[in-house]
Symmetry: C2
Subunit: 224 residues, 2 copies
DNA sequence: CGTGATGCTGAACTCATGTTCAATACATTA
DNA sequence: TAATGTATTGAACATGAGTTCAGCATCACG
């Protein structure tokens, strides 16, 4: 917050911040009038400053993008993505940004894809550290595993949000809390003690994939 | 016309089926005019038959609900939910229904919650069979594990859909194919060979949960 | 044949939305 | 002080949405 100078806290920025909040709370179909009312101004002024609702949306995207990278650099570099999410949810100030990202993830779009890739990178790095330390098992395809883990947890969080808090603004801190409470134990259990005792499925798939699939897998990491 | 000329294949049903298709392809914000055009009729007739767009939507929900239960009873009872999804995606005829369910899952609502619960039940039963057969490890909380597995895979599928096929109609067969190709290996690997070698996380969480699970969950906000 | 009921249309109505625009208030400066 | 440019408003416009309605067509039934 302190990094953004007071020169940025102009009306434009106030509208932008309010818009991020509205988008997070009511989704991207929120009306310009609602955004204007939330900022205590007239609808016309929103257009006067941003040209159109679409451009306002773009500006919100870039602003959220900036906040994310800022938080990422502030946070200890080795922290996992989910930890980052948790931390952000706990700090009330970041709730609109987190909500905005969640909405983006639901709607698709450039920001969503970027955010996903960012998290994948984080997870992959985090897992690599774990492998190095001996606490995490190496994978046949670390990149694919990172994507899988990211997609699973993020998708599960999204699903939990839409199913249990439809429509209006969800308290994302509470959503995260509920989500953790519901899934932390089975997740840890599944990741610690193998769910599948029988190796047949895995071996069969590997054999099948070796036969007629791409040989793109970077098997260079840890051939154990 | 084919079989049910007087039975179900009336104009009402034709509109309903077309609406399911439109909802699946363009989302629930698709216009009544589009639905009417898709059925080759006038917009007014849609309202004449269903009263309002909301009631048409409800009727689509119940119809999809019916198709799902029908497929579920037809399919071998022990089949897993994901297998059911795969099977449905492969049969072109069910593509609109699957798309409709996906859209519901993205938007939230009653049908989405019901469908999720249905899949959870299936997964739990399927896992129980596996445990009985000795191919699946037992869980401390089978119900929670079933919810977790369902939420992860379904959420991941949703996320993959929104990220890689935004907006217009995705070919759900292809989406499933891509999704399987991207995540099957790491998923099987993670479920067969434990990701976490170190048991500390699991044991710590269990101890922590046993101690103060009922008291507001994690107290991480204050003590860090 | 006539009568009514139902299926169906096309235009019009209502409403919310994004956007435009002329007019006004304000602030800065010559 | 006068001027000029920016911030801001309130009303109006255009559009697309869901819905209504009066009327035409079609068909069963007496």
């Amino acid at each position: 917050m302190s990094s953004a100078s007071r020169g940025d806290l102009t009306t434009r920025a106030r509208i932008r911040d309010g818009a991020v909040e509205c988008f997070a709370r009511e989704g991207f179909s929120v009306s310009v009038r609602t955004i204007a009312e939330h900022a205590g101004i007239s609808p016309g002024l929103v257009i006067h400053h941003f040209g159109s609702k679409a451009r306002l949306r773009e500006e919100c995207d870039t602003h959220v993008r900036g906040v994310i990278t800022e938080v990422k650099t502030q946070t200890f570099e080795g922290a996992s993505g989910t930890f980052m999410l948790q931390q952000m949810a706990e700090i009330e100030h970041y709730a609109p940004v987190l909500g905005y990202v969640l909405r983006s993830l639901q709607s698709g779009g450039a920001l969503a894809a970027e955010f996903f890739e960012l998290m994948v990178e984080d997870v992959e790095r985090f897992m690599a550290v774990g492998v190095e330390a001996g606490t995490v098992a190496p994978s046949r395809d670390p990149a694919a595993r990172a994507r899988y883990l990211t997609s699973s947890s993020l998708g599960s969080l999204m699903l939990h949000t839409t199913l249990h808090h439809p429509g209006t603004e969800p308290d994302f801190g509470r959503v995260m809390q509920e989500w953790i409470e519901a899934y932390m134990l089975p997740a840890l259990e599944s990741y610690t003690e193998p769910v599948l005792i029988d190796r047949t499925l895995l071996d069969t798939y590997i054999a099948h994939a070796d036969g007629g699939a791409d040989a793109e897998g970077s098997a260079g990491a840890d051939a154990d």
